[in-house]
Symmetry: C2
Subunit: 554 residues, 2 copies
């Protein structure tokens, strides 16, 4: 009776269940783009697959097609011109709704088996997806492969695993037998059916079109819901490939492929109509505060899982590894030009400077040394281009250009040439200094390679400012450098109150902006930057209901 | 390291965990008010305890007291005049917030241990609570004891158990060790802390002041949140006794008793201010649609778990046990004069009548026979008074008086005398007949002993009408009488689509309006009558977050 795909992937699922209960290191999908793992031709085949759709109609046979759209512009300057079907929202919602009953009847085991097969297929397509991610987001190749491929798949699997871990504990049926003293017992047979809440809408972002999409997509699917994926209009291709693969798996299984569809909307009103459709019961959103809040305020018929903006910050109070700290921060600020939702924006440093293993360093010295560390890290143009990638949007370019006015320039951002992609806009981090009182400068998200050194009165004031930033403006990540247990304790308490993940004294190969599936709870869901976390039981448990029936038996 | 109270109650918890995973019959607290179980003096001691507070100040030493209020009026006509402290909302919220950190630090095991001790103490006070429930709600004694005592405690324990089952799977810490090929692994220590979302407000109803309050109260407490209990202004005493006992347990444990407090508000604006307080992060509400929807629309800072109104219905299509069916329905309509959120309001019957083991019965015959069954069931005044209880509110009395205008009277409701409580308003069910098209009559909740026989075209039309009622007006319970597998299948599919619990062919000692803890999912949470269920993982998982910190280790 076990579904064949459940059986096929059962070992992976069992290991994943063990991983979410221990949350040590675990991964299902190899993160190294190695020919030994993915095949000798995998890299080229992936590139060919992407090249084959450039300038063409993307093959997705969806209902309600009213036209074609090709809105993407590559940050690397590569002509894309992929034409995607534009489908009527009503047609997609109706088709999704029609596909739900068959998906529900498959049962939790069957759905999870199919989801695991989908993820395995996505893994095999990692190079194709990586090329698509790189071209549309401006990520460097390695990040595009890792974050866009295996890490995103791990996050998808993590969501499926949480869903499974909730659903498997609900019995399909029970005999309820209540003693009645000397009389025969009352006896009922009961059936418990897991039912998805309804159509799920997953709205992607422009920078991580798979990593931030797969958790909601697979959480919704596994719990019995049809999904409409609405990608960012500049990062459609990775989502389109994903949807194509998922529809292929569904069709192979004799299931209705319209269970998963792609919504390409060129105007915000279309997305708004979709988001407020009465049949849409959940929305996963990654993006800016304005539209995220609009969704929360207006899509009242749906449960909204939102990852929004924030002001991630790191308190630098003292360190016993000054060079390691500077190297670590230089990497964090540089990676993908700071275009990560987890990148530090504010470095809060006591005005009197900090104690280090290299002696006391003044506030200005920390700035000078950090600027030098960034320079050094990016000195090799090959490394610089590989790490920085390209600036994803014109808005970010405009923010970079306007940044110097926001503080005292500690390190001026620079424009780098990319020999491979001459049209790419490559920019190194801008580092500014300002006072804690200059709230207008640093107290809002300035997405991109723009960071502030914020001068706080002292260590306790730095910790307090960090807490206030998290509470009032949100943060996905917070860091601390300190050698003093009392400061570490104070920061720990502050982050427990404010509800944000804390990284302490990272000086090696782990960075505050990295979040590992199956171990790090990404986002927490307790401060204004996000109302949900990847992944925990809250991320899945409210996406389905248990509907029961009961009757007497002898 | 195990908390002593966790250890003390571990066997109960383990049995409860097994029960939520199997959902057969299980109960922790004996439902029979037997002297052998509860002690020879338990009944009288409970009554004395209640009598001792009548006309007096209720002993609750809470912060921010601005006065006293005694708004309760007993449906049995017993003078109550218990004076409760009225406390400033801001003071209660602040005190609750201040108590949270210590409660969090106790950890999941400690909190669950304390919650189990609280429930054990409530169980010991079952007679006191039962007297309070009876006097304030108008329930008959046996229902007041069972639903107000052990059944409510079971529902509280069920919520604690779901909370525990979620929390126990989150490791307190982990070592994350990521291989780096030939280099030493990256190694991080991670700590995962379960943090409650913030102050919980639990708003009770006038008819089941403990049964509908304990799930939210204990779900919120166990997951790390302070709780303010705001009872219905006519059913304060059972909540006040509960809060008093919980505060006693907290004080004994050296914990801040302000973790649990009672909010007595005489004006709706005070409750509204409390509900929209920024520190209030969850609201559990049982009551009418108007205020429930107001909460959902306005208390946007909080997660709202709401049980609202609905139009519960039963489709009568055919039966092989006509007498059993009529007896069963007569009991359902009579119990607590239909003042249960689960009582059937609409009986949907094909216009052409139904096939039964007693031959075909016309629509009118079913009505006549059902009226006779109610008469017969209530013929003995002792039984009638014990089952019917008293009418809880003037609004319900007014609805009863107005009911005959809403349809053709099949059975006229009667006023019964209660020798023990001469001032009690005791009323037997009014049964009306109408056409499916008379939507203005039966398509809104008419809380109390008012039921409609709705004439549908045929069986399929009856099933379709039931589904529409659930989808558009909500329902906590739906029933079906049919001997035909295709009708049972159609009704099953309809209830899966609409999201409502179905009882099929109940002809014995189980009734559609009864919902057993640990087995029946009360409310489902998928139709307009409720957005949450007692209890499932969704009822607890979103009440806490996991906040992590990580740092390198060697």
């Amino acid at each position: 009776m076990t579904h064949p795909l459940f059986e096929k992937h059962q070992a992976t699922l069992e290991a994943a269940v063990a991983a979410i209960h221990t949350r040590g290191y675990w991964s299902a999908y190899p993160e190294m783009p190695s020919p030994k793992v993915y095949g000798e031709d995998a890299h080229d085949a992936g590139k060919r697959a992407v090249d084959a759709v450039l300038g063409k109609e993307f093959p997705l046979d969806q209902p309600g097609r009213s036209g074609w759209a090709a809105p993407e512009r590559s940050p690397y300057g590569v002509p894309l011109a992929v034409r995607y079907p534009v489908c009527e929202a009503q047609a997609l919602v109706e088709a999704a709704g029609a596909a739900q009953a068959g998906w529900q009847k498959l049962g939790a085991q069957g759905r999870v088996g199919v989801c695991l097969e989908m993820l395995a297929r996505l893994n095999r397509a990692s190079f194709e997806i990586a090329h698509a991610v790189m071209l549309t987001t401006g990520q460097g190749w390695m990040m595009a492969f890792q974050a866009g491929g295996p890490h995103a798949q791990d996050r998808g699997l993590e969501a499926v695993t949480y869903a499974w871990d909730e659903m498997r504990r609900i019995p399909a049926e029970a005999v309820w037998e209540k003693p009645q003293g000397k009389n025969p017992p009352l006896k009922l047979k009961k059936h418990f059916e897991i039912v998805g809440r309804g159509v799920a809408l997953v709205i992607g972002c422009g920078t991580f079109p798979t990593w931030n999409t797969y958790p909601g997509l697979f959480a919704a699917l596994a719990t019995g819901n049809p999904v409409i994926v609405k990608p960012h209009s500049n990062a459609i291709l990775p989502a389109a490939i994903t949807v194509r693969i998922l529809r292929e798996v569904l069709a192979e299984q004799g299931l209705d492929p319209n269970l998963v569809s792609l919504a390409v909307a060129e105007r915000r009103e279309v997305t708004q109509a979709l988001a407020t459709h009465p049949a849409v019961k959940s929305i996963d959103f990654t993006g800016g505060h304005t539209f995220g809040q609009w969704l929360i305020d207006n899509a009242r018929q749906a449960q909204v899982y939102a990852e929004l903006a924030g002001v991630n910050n790191v308190v630098v109070e003292s360190t016993d590894n000054y060079k390691g700290m500077l190297r670590n921060l230089a990497f964090t600020f540089s990676l993908y030009s700071g275009q990560m939702c987890t990148t530090t924006q504010a470095l809060i440093v006591p005005a009197g400077g900090i104690d280090t293993d290299q002696g006391h360093k003044s506030f200005d010295e920390v700035g000078t040394d950090l600027a030098a560390a960034i320079d050094k890290f990016l000195a090799d143009p090959n490394v610089a281009n590989a790490v920085l990638g390209a600036i994803q949007s014109g808005d970010t370019l405009r923010r970079i250009d306007a940044a110097p006015a926001l503080g005292q320039v500690v390190r001026a951002g620079t424009k780098l040439a990319n020999p491979e992609f001459p049209a790419a806009e490559v920019r190194s981090p801008t580092l500014l200094a300002c006072d804690a009182g200059d709230e207008a400068s640093y107290m809002e998200e300035r997405f991109g390679p723009i960071a502030f050194m914020v001068r706080a009165a002292d260590g306790p004031a730095a910790v307090a400012l960090s807490e206030r930033l998290v509470r009032e403006h949100g943060a996905l990540t917070v860091g601390l450098y300190s050698t003093r247990p009392e400061v570490i304790d104070a920061m720990t308490e502050a982050t427990l109150r404010a509800g944000v993940a804390l990284s302490i004294n990272l000086t090696g190969g782990v960075f505050v902006n990295q979040s590992a599936a199956f171990s790090d709870y990404h986002g927490v869901g307790m401060n204004p930057a996000a109302n949900a976390s990847y992944s925990d039981s809250a991320f899945v448990a409210n996406r389905f209901r248990v509907v029961q029936r009961r009757y007497h038996i002898d």
